[in-house]
């Protein structure tokens, strides 16, 4: 750690860990409900559980991105963060808005638009919060001595993510138009600007962990985010096949979204290539594991499993079934959840000065969570394909088909238990690091010497 103010990242990472554990609890509630055990229905009906599960996911990932930015931007621009008190205010207000939203879901205060369930008044607070965050980052960048590509790609990802939140805040009388703009948020986030954030954080981690020349890494970063937008913007069309929008989206969405996996493949090849070229001397093997798994699993979840249902002829049958849930889990896990876990694994030893870099618990956490998640995705896949055949091809009534799917949810729960064990170990490991200390300044700087091949 180079600067005192980087420690602020810890708050955001700790919040991420807390929300992730809650998210998993709600996942179990829903999995049991799918099996027919919905004893909590009176207090937590499925629609409250689902809103909570999805929004906790989005908030813990965004909290992780913010922590990452607070850690990376001072380092990359060679300057203390502009204002630590402002960052603290921003942190507490984020946490409070999050808590109010979650409580609101349980008393039926929501907006009912998938992933954007947070009610309108809270949306304004979220927007304000993000503006404060961005001002802090931008002023730091402006005052800094260096302006690296990595820092700019990360920051522009964050700015555009904030801008794209706005179309989701407008009320439209026509449900189709409402959906149309909901995708400007959801799709253009995960298959657009969040990939800038992902590319920025991955580059930073690769520069630090492999010691490969910055110029080489950043050149490929441009190529990858170039591919992202080339395919991802018009790829939004894969959500415009069957919602009351014109037929030309079947062609445009089909072609361009089928090219989206290229950007994710780019990330995979990029990370593996840099790892192979690198000097492999960095002692933080866990951070390296998570960095590489992000690059690989994002391709499997977003790229391959996305491709599996993105062509209009397939999507006609899989649209809005458990096949979508299969893809949603591995894509979010591989691309964004793992990314946040990677930057946490990298930064914790540097912030706290504790060198428990390569411990057994950390490795168990890594393998159990990944294996568990792959098992969960397999269970969703089996359930989803069976659902498609029964409901969409044979015309079996929805509920009758669902009853046949219960065994798959039993498997889901088994795999989810493995997954949750992994995450528990990760969080225990996180807690074992303790809190960041000023004495940790200068920690890890000895590795800076490794950074020229």
């Amino acid at each position: 750690m180079k600067y005192k103010s980087q420690k602020i990242a810890y708050y955001f990472f700790a919040l991420s860990m807390l929300l992730l554990s809650l998210q998993i609890i709600y996942g179990f509630i829903m999995a049991f409900a799918h099996m027919g055990y919905d004893g909590l229905h009176q207090w937590i009906p499925f629609n409250a559980a689902t809103a909570t599960h999805k929004n906790l996911l989005v908030v813990w990932i965004i909290s992780g991105f913010m922590g990452a930015a607070y850690f990376i931007i001072p380092d990359e621009s060679d300057h203390e963060l502009w204002s630590v008190p402002l960052a603290l205010i921003q942190f507490y207000s984020l946490a409070i808005v999050g808590v109010v939203a979650i409580i609101g879901f349980h008393v039926g205060w929501f907006e009912g638009r998938k992933f954007l369930e947070i009610p309108r008044p809270l949306d304004y607070l979220v927007a304000l919060n993000v503006i404060v965050f961005l001002i802090n980052i931008l002023v730091t960048l402006y005052k800094g001595k260096k302006h690296s590509t990595t820092a700019w790609v990360l920051t522009s990802g964050l700015i555009f993510a904030a801008l794209l939140y706005l179309p989701g805040m407008v009320w439209f009388d026509n449900h189709t138009v409402d959906s149309f703009f909901r995708w400007w948020v959801v799709h253009l986030w995960v298959e657009g600007v969040w990939e800038l954030i992902m590319g920025g954080i991955l580059s930073y981690l690769l520069i630090k962990l492999t010691g490969v020349d910055r110029e080489v890494i950043e050149k490929w970063l441009y190529v990858i985010v170039g591919l992202t937008f080339l395919s991802g913007i018009l790829g939004t069309g894969h959500h415009y096949y069957y919602i009351g929008t014109p037929k030309y989206w079947l062609l445009v969405g089909g072609i361009f979204s089928a090219m989206e996996p290229l950007a994710f493949l780019g990330m995979t090849l990029f990370a593996i290539q840099m790892y192979r070229k690198g000097n492999k001397k960095h002692p933080n093997k866990l951070a390296l594991h998570w960095t590489l798994s992000t690059a690989i699993v994002s391709f499997l979840g977003a790229g391959l499993l996305g491709l599996a249902h993105t062509l209009p002829g397939v999507n006609l049958y899989t649209h809005g079934t458990l096949v979508t849930a299969m893809h949603g889990h591995l894509a979010f896990w591989g691309a964004y959840a793992s990314l946040v876990l990677a930057i946490i694994s990298y930064s914790m030893p540097l912030m706290t000065g504790r060198k428990i870099l390569d411990n057994a618990m950390g490795h168990f956490a890594f393998w159990l969570s990944n294996i568990g998640m792959i098992g969960m995705v397999a269970a969703f896949a089996a359930a989803g394909v069976a659902q498609v055949y029964m409901e969409r091809i044979m015309g079996v009534d929805f509920m009758k088909a669902q009853l046949e799917l219960a065994p798959h949810f039993f498997v889901l729960i088994l795999a989810a238990t493995v997954f949750a064990t992994g995450i528990t170990l990760y969080i225990i490991n996180f807690l074992k690091f303790g809190v960041p200390v000023d004495e940790a300044i200068g920690q890890g700087e000895e590795f800076a010497a490794l950074q020229t091949n």
Binding site: A33, G36, D38, H41, P45, F46, N47, A48, T50, F110, E111, G112, R113, K114, E117, T149, D173, N174, H175, T176, V177, F180, E215, E218, K219, W220, Y222, V223, G226, F229, L230, I233, L234, T236, Y240, Y241, Y242, I243, G244, T245, P246, K247, W249, L250, L316, Y317, H319, G320, L322, Q387, R392, I393, M394, G395, V396, D397, M399, K400, Q402, L403
Partner: protein
């Protein structure tokens, strides 16, 4: 080999071009197609109220509509055609919550006006041209 500068140009140029195309297509979609395909002229005050109720109660947190939502409860795009107004109106205020095949629906307390509004919303959704979604079962056994 590609230089960093060329790579940057590829990124900025590509993004700008495709974003402009996307905005153009958006305008065409919303101005020339969606109003016709979704019969925007039929969005009455009642339909609007129905959609408001749909949103405020997060019905999408269990059901899908136009294939979007959660996968706990049935797809409702064609529910108006499948079940009819009376059936739909009966499920909302069911004492203890509607419980088909052991899955729980929330017990609501809707007025007659609100129930009619939801039915009107479903009717509007039912009539929209969704390019063939939901698909007709090719091996139909049930019906």
């Amino acid at each position: 080999m590609l230089s960093k500068k060329q790579a940057k140009l590829f990124f900025l140029g590509g993004t700008a071009i495709f974003f402009l195309i996307f905005v153009g297509m958006t305008v065409d979609t919303l101005v020339n197609h969606v109003p016709r395909q979704t019969h925007a002229e039929n969005i009455t005050q009642q339909v609007r109220m129905g959609r408001h109720l749909w949103d405020a109660n997060n019905c999408m947190g269990c059901h899908t509509i136009m294939g979007e939502g959660a996968y706990y409860a049935p797809e409702l795009t064609k529910v108006y055609e499948r079940r009819g107004a009376d059936y739909i109106k009966a499920v909302f205020n069911f004492p203890g919550g509607w419980r088909p095949h052991g899955r729980h629906m929330v017990e609501y307390n809707f007025t007659e006006e609100e129930k009619d509004a939801l039915v009107a919303f479903f009717k509007w959704v039912d009539e929209a041209d969704l390019n063939g979604f939901p698909p007709k079962p090719s091996l139909s056994l049930d019906r």
